[in-house]
Amino acid sequence: MLYGFLGPNGAGKTTTIRMMLSLIRPSAGQAYVLDESVFSSAAAAQGALRRVGAVIEEPAFWRWLTGRKNLECFANAGGPAPDRRARVARIDEVLATVGLRSAADKRVKAYSQGMRQRLGLALALLGDPEVLVLDEPTNGLDPQGMREFRMLLRRLADAGTTIFVSSHLLGEVEAMCDHVGVLAQGKLVAQGPPSELRKRTDTVRVEVDDRLRASEVLADLTGVKVRDEQVRASSHSTMYTLALTGDATPAQVNGRLVAAGVKVGALIPEQASLEDVFLTLVEGADVPR
């Protein structure tokens, strides 16, 4: 399962992730990771974290050590002895998974940004995690790197790892995630598979003759937002582009317009892209721009 955590910059994605990982404490509330309540005790948080792998914003390493030595140091830094040994034993495997085997014995200071990104993923995979938390993982990757990265995540997800990936890039999330949550102003404003989310906001274009009357009707309808209106002088008509959210449907819009005596010349439903959904949701949350 690949969960995409979407939101504009400043929506609170990283803050949420840092709370999940018990790096920062909320003023109130609780977070549950793998059924453990993270803020109830340090032991609960540690038990959960041992089963989680994470890349939080950019990866970070001790630059004077080699890639392999970095992984070794992280593996040995904490946890019970069997856990440490298991991680050390997996070093070669995760290096191969991310394609860093040949560069493993170079110092991290000589790594390119893409290599660091991959070493970060290798570190996250080191504990054979049940949940992988990735915060903006493709920052700094080139298109080729991003594609490889997405394919790798897909493989891991298909093999049974739950992957929680945050991003402000819609295309990326739409292309790879099974489930998407949209965060705006610190609140989760929508959640669901991308296909369902897309359905929630449809764009409809409506051509009407009586502009004044139509705008009154549309303003009264809940779940309808006028995104654009174009007056067409040649046909004495107006083309509205409407975003529909919630229960609003094209048929309902049509019915209300006709009932109010507005002639509807055309009604063109358009499949919204996730981008439209996203913008609608985020606008709804009054994000300052």
Binding site: L21, S22, I24, Q46, L49, A60, L65, C73, F74
Partner: protein, 266 residues
């Protein structure tokens, strides 16, 4: 975590640079003595005039010279950078989600700083004995009280002096680790720690502030010289040990309390 810290330090240039500094100090002293007339009693830093009688005193003289500044500088650098350096490097968040327990983390950081300080002191002592021994020979050790100790007895007292110096630095290291939990800037915390040691020595030098002198971190830092009296003059040493232990305990607890609640935002 402690062993990981040592493994990291062993691969770092600055560790070897500091060790080289520790080794260079006694060599510098011995070479300077070889190139000039022997100093009369009371000339130069304490013990300097004794080096020509017994090479062991090259180590004592070196300790006297590094304790006021070089050693606190090294200790402050290591301790101040210990946690704040991980924070500014970004590795702190990855260590915390590894997860490394926060108490364990602070103790491992303090422990590894002290391990390096002790190693540095031992390097200095070893090079002092070697360089002094080569130049002026080793043998029965004259004490400041006029009597003589066997070489083995002298060596034990030298090591005791080294232990005392390390304990003195432990107080500063604890302060450094505490400061290191307050900020995300490694160099800032390191500088602040060194400044603490300097200010303490300045206050210690002002007679009008003599009321606070007995409580200053640095007040008894040079008392280790009393181990080469016969019998050992314990007064200042005891008070120095007490100061060192108190500062270590108070600031280590403060660091633990502070870090256990701290948000990791870098």
């Amino acid at each position: 975590m402690f062993r990981v810290e040592l493994a990291k330090a062993a691969r770092r240039w600055r560790t070897w640079l500091l060790a080289a500094g520790g080794a260079a100090m006694p060599i510098l002293i011995v070479v300077s003595l070889l190139l000039s007339d022997p100093p009369g009693p009371g000339e130069g830093p304490p013990f300097l005039s004794l080096v020509v009688h017994n090479g062991l005193f090259a180590s004592f003289t070196s300790l006297v010279l590094v304790v006021p500044f070089f050693l606190p500088l090294a200790t402050g650098l290591l301790a101040g950078d210990s946690i704040a350096g991980e924070a500014s490097n970004g590795t702190l968040r990855y260590l915390m989600v590894r997860p490394v327990g926060r108490t364990r983390f602070v103790l491992a950081k303090f422990g590894s700083v002290m391990a390096l300080v002790v190693a540095g002191v031992l390097v200095l002592i070893a090079f002092g004995v070697a360089a002094g021994g080569l130049a002026y020979g080793l043998g029965p050790v004259p004490t400041l009280s006029g009597s003589t100790l066997s070489f083995a007895g002298g060596l034990v007292r030298l090591l005791a002096a080294g232990g005392y110096v390390a304990l003195s630095m432990a107080g500063l290291a604890a302060i450094g680790v505490f400061i290191s939990t307050l900020t995300d800037s490694g160099p800032g915390a390191a500088a602040a720690t060194v400044i603490v040691a300097i200010v303490s020595q300045i206050v210690d030098a002002l007679p009008s502030l003599s009321a606070v002198h007995p409580y200053l971190l640095t007040h008894q830092w040079l008392a280790f010289g009393d181990v080469v009296r016969s019998p050992v003059a314990w007064g200042s040493i005891e008070s120095g040990v007490l100061i060192g232990l108190s500062y270590t305990a108070v600031f280590l607890l403060a660091a633990l309390a502070r870090f256990s609640r701290r948000d990791v935002t870098t």
